[in-house]
Point group: C2
Chain length 265, copies 2
C-alpha cells in the first residue's frame, strides 16, 4: 500500500542514512539534503522530532523503530516496505540513529535491496561514541597509550558477562560500549578479568549532544558506585579518558559533570 | 604575529573540527557553520581545496599539516598558534581530516587549550572507515558474525609487524586499518598469526568518498596479491565484507571495483 497520491516520474532509490547522535547540527550535509528531498522517511524510534522536522514537508514519516523491546515492524517488513516504495519510484530515506554501519541493521538492508535490484546509497552518520567523547572533552585514541579503539554493543548480549572485552594491547586501547547492559559493577569485573587496571579512567555519557547530556567521570575500580544514567548511554574506558575536561567555559550545551572516584584499593 | 588588521570585540574560541573523509557533503552541518564564520582555519595538508572553500571568504587559511613525513609546523607550534589567535579574540577552526578524535592529535590539543584557559569545542567528523564501508557497500558490524569493531592505525607503527591485530572474539569482529603500512602480504600474515581464517573477506578502499575512490575486494589469503592503492586507504577485514556490493546502479560516484580472490589453499 502506497499512501501518496502521485506517481513520481523517476527511478526510486533508498538512502540508508545516519541521523547522528541527537543534535540536528551533527547530521551531515548529505543526510540533510536527502531528508529534505525525501518522499518517505522510515525512521527508528530514537530519531528526534527535531531531526524529523528536517524532512521535506511533503514527506511521509513512518516510525519503524523498536519500543519496549518490541519492533513496530519486523526487519523483513522494513525491507519489504523500502523495496515497495522504491519500486514505485519514490525517494526513500531509511533513517537510523548514529552511523547506520555501526550497530544498525544496514548489512541486512543492503542485502535485501541488492536482491530486489533497487538502487541504494549509504549516507554515513556521526556515531554515538564520537559525540560522547566530544561531550566528555576527550579524544578516542592517542599516540602514547591508546593506539587502537574498539566499539562493543552492550545491549546485544543477553547478560553483561557475555560482552567480550578485549585484552589491553601493548600500545594501549580505548573501548567504547554502546548501551552498556547489566550493572556497571559487572562491566567493571569484565574489564578486570581481561587484565585492565582498576585505576583505568572511564566516562559514562548519557544523551550525548542533546540538552539532556550528562557526563560522569570515574575509573574501572569505582564504576560500580556510579548511578545508572538514562539511555542512550555510552561508556568509554581507557587512558584517553584521564584528561576529561567537559568544562570549557563556552561550550554551548551545559553539561552536568560528576566525578566518582573512590579511594584506590 | 596576527595577520588580520582588526581586533574582534568578542571572546576567541577554538573549534577542533572534523573535515570528514573527503566529500564536502560529508561535513556535519555544525562543521560547515563554524567554517563559514571562522576568522582563521588551521588545517591539515589532506583537507581538500573544495572543503577549504567552505570557509568564510574573510578567513585566513593556514596549512599546518605534514608533508613527506615532515610537518609544516610542529605540534607545539600549532598549540601556540591556536592559543595566540583565540586570545586575540578570533574564532579559530582547527580542521583535521576524518573525525578529530580518531587518530588525530586532539587529546594533546585539548590539554594545551585547557592549560591556556582558552574556550574550545569539539565538532565530530565522519571517520574514514565509515566512508570506506559506504563506498564498499558494507556494514561495519552485524548481529551474526561481527559483534565488535576495532580501528587500528597502520602508519603509527614503524613496521607492519608491530600493528597489534586483535584475536577473533566468539561473536566475530571487524578490523579497520587506517593507512595500512608495510606490504599487504605482511598484514595478511599478522591476521593469520592471530587466528583469522584465510577465507575471511576484506576490502581495500582508496580515497573513499572522492571522485578517485577505488574499491578492491579480496580475502586475507589473497591480500598479498593486491596492488597497493594510493593513500589515503583503509583496509577493512571481517565477515561483513563478504557482502560487498559497491555496484548500486545509481551511486553517484563511479567506483572501480576489482575482485582479487585466488583459489583457496
Amino acid at each position: 500500500m502506497i499512501e501518496r497520491n502521485y506517481k513520481p516520474n523517476r527511478c526510486g532509490k533508498v538512502f540508508l542514512a545516519g541521523a547522528g547522535p541527537g543534535d540536528p547540527e551533527l547530521l551531515t550535509v548529505r543526510a540533510m539534503r536527502v531528508l529534505a528531498s525525501a518522499d518517505f522517511v522510515l525512521h527508528d524510534a530514537l530519531v528526534s522530532a527535531e531531526i524529523l522536522a528536517m524532512a521535506s514537508p511533503h514527506a511521509v514519516l513512518e516510525d519503524v523503530g523498536k519500543r519496549c523491546g518490541e519492533r513496530a515492524m519486523r526487519q523483513e517488513q522494513i525491507h519489504a516496505r523500502m523495496i515497495e516504495l522504491a519500486r514505485a519510484g519514490f525517494s526513500v530515506v531509511r533513517l537510523q540513529g548514529g552511523d547506520p554501519m555501526i550497530f544498525g541493521r544496514t548489512g541486512e538492508e543492503i542485502a535485501a535491496l541488492v536482491h530486489a535490484n533497487v538502487a541504494w546509497e549509504i549516507v554515513p552518520g556521526i556515531t554515538a561514541s564520537s559525540a560522547a567523547a566530544a561531550a566528555a572533552g576527550i579524544s578516542l585514541t592517542n599516540r602514547r597509550d591508546a593506539g587502537q579503539l574498539t566499539f562493543l554493543a552492550g545491549h546485544r548480549a543477553s547478560d553483561a558477562a557475555a560482552v567480550e572485552i578485549p585484552a589491553v594491547p601493548a600500545g594501549g586501547a580505548t573501548v567504547a560500549i554502546y548501551m552498556p547492559s547489566g550493572s556497571y559493577a559487572e562491566i567493571a569485573q569484565n574489564f578486570l578479568k581481561r587484565g585492565w587496571r582498576r585505576e583505568t579512567p572511564c566516562v559514562i555519557v548519557s544523551e550525548a549532544s542533546t540538552p539532556h547530556q550528562r557526563v560522569v567521570k570515574s575509573t574501572i575500580g569505582s564504576l560500580g558506585e556510579c548511578e545508572r544514567l538514562p539511555a542512550p548511554a555510552i561508556l568509554i574506558v581507557g587512558e584517553t579518558a584521564r584528561l576529561s575536561f567537559a568544562v570549557s567555559p563556552q561550550n554551548e550545551i551545559k553539561t552536568e559533570v560528576r566525578e566518582i572516584i573512590t579511594s584506590a584499593p
